[in-house]
Subunit: 346 residues, 2 copies
Amino acid sequence: MNDRFLRACRREPVDRTPVWFMRQAGRYMKEYQLIRARHGILDVCKTPDLAAQVTLQPIERFAVDAAIIFADILLPLEPMGLDVAFLEGEGPVIRNPLRQAQAVNSLRPVNHEAFRFSGEAIRRTRAMLADRVPLIGFAGAPFTLASYAIEGGSSRSYVTTKTFMYAQPRAWHQLMQKLVHTIITYLQVQICAGAQAIQIFDSWVGCLAPGDYEEYVFPHVQAMIEAIRAEGVPVIYFGTGTATLLPLMRRVGSDVIGLDWRVPLDEAWAVLGHEVAVQGNLDPVVLFAPLVEIERRVHDILVRAGQRPGHIFNLGHGILPGTPVDHVAATIEYVHKHSQHSHIRR
Amino acid sequence: MNDRFLRACRREPVDRTPVWFMRQAGRYMKEYQLIRARHGILDVCKTPDLAAQVTLQPIERFAVDAAIIFADILLPLEPMGLDVAFLEGEGPVIRNPLRQAQAVNSLRPVNHEAFRFSGEAIRRTRAMLADRVPLIGFAGAPFTLASYAIEGGSSRSYVTTKTFMYAQPRAWHQLMQKLVHTIITYLQVQICAGAQAIQIFDSWVGCLAPGDYEEYVFPHVQAMIEAIRAEGVPVIYFGTGTATLLPLMRRVGSDVIGLDWRVPLDEAWAVLGHEVAVQGNLDPVVLFAPLVEIERRVHDILVRAGQRPGHIFNLGHGILPGTPVDHVAATIEYVHKHSQHSHIRR
């Protein structure tokens, strides 16, 4: 098996820097659009054959070093009693958002059975992958899920979420605990079914001041990551806009920290300390640039990562719709070429 | 005159920390809504009596230490040939966005006459203020204006803007130069008419990696700020999500750097060095929290600012619609109370 990705998670030497992309199965691929023309996104997620098929699409086409199961971060909210829908062109919507402290009490407890579809999708994907590359499972982090549950969708300023947090801290912490319980259950199903690493997406946590992160988020993420690591797989913790949160994020105890493009990789790694692996961090928009510009920037990131083991190449956020497919292929080639040539020890 | 604000811009001792709020004249005030029920936002901006009246609304109601002229950052785009509109509930839209390099050539050069309405609004406001507090003029920064001009509105990932920048760097720099010329012209009119300080809003510049900021934005902002400071007024340079850009932003040469809430004020000031004043940096959502929580956080920011002159209290971004008016009043009171009691030298 190509185990570069898993070795890098554990900060072991690799022959070339491993590379994969968040949302590597997505709208920028024609193969994906063909499936989505006939099936809604929730259908694809919950039909194991479709989820496996979509997960494999980038593996068949590109030389990426890991697969990530096709799913949506909001799936765990459904069995808790939240009504999740995807409106075309509008992104996710929660039709019954959590606005009152009492609503937290009525969230339903979730057991492994609720995520049977996910386990099955992972089993089929693993069979189809036939150990070519490892399979990553994932979930949204409690803050990011709470923000969707409370706002009712995506948000620019997170007024409702933060106001809930400030004005009803007890209900907030109760909500976070319930989310953590659900997420752990969901990820246990994925790991049990064969997920070989887990990524936690705290995509919107960068809207918080460091003091708020420490008080309202940190203990919950830490408890969650401890429970997941106990299952024996490496854990990646990722967010965007997190430059000032990195010292706290380091303390949650993940094996890998995912970085966005706003932080120079070497500086961020120095802040985190080198006892943790890092993943990132090309601006997803750079994939729209001319190839010569992409290559220059890939090279720059690899130079910043240096000879030290423990770097996984990725974008700083998901691949954007409209990204040229040949630029994706070229980026992977540049990563492998320049990391081979930079004498990374085996 | 209450000159706390201007003294703090120059890092001179003050009796209490000055405080004002971005968007302090805005939708959260009933007085403002009454005017807007009868006039579109562009009408208010371009009718000097209305602009002056709205500018004065927060001055009549609150003990803020500065007024800021009511206007919109997109106004300078209109005389350049861009068709700016405000659709209810959707924010600003440019009906003929810049998508081709050639479109930059056809932007019209702008002279002082184009901004006569702004000079007149400032003259009337100064007369109505009668030196109670100083009046701040403002403009959008070239990157933030370019992002609206190219995207055609607000954006989440700035794909079109950055792709323009990466793929057509010559046209990009030409566009930035034209914007800088227009902005300087606009601000000269404001200063000539009586604006006593200038704030430059680079609200969305935090979407850029530091290397991109340095290459595509920095030289233009630096040239612009040098020209404005030559007019003899202090300049505040503000952006959000700028934690990793601060060392570069410091070098543009403004008198004051505006900070958002993601950076602890003391740490950011240490990074900037203490030869520059700072403005900020309460999360605007904190104004929705219970008063006891607001007071605790105001106090925390004042403690971080310490005894050193050169701190202007503000939010980390504009006041949000729906902010409780009595919380705004209380926040101002807390700033004055706690900064008086912390023995700031005169």
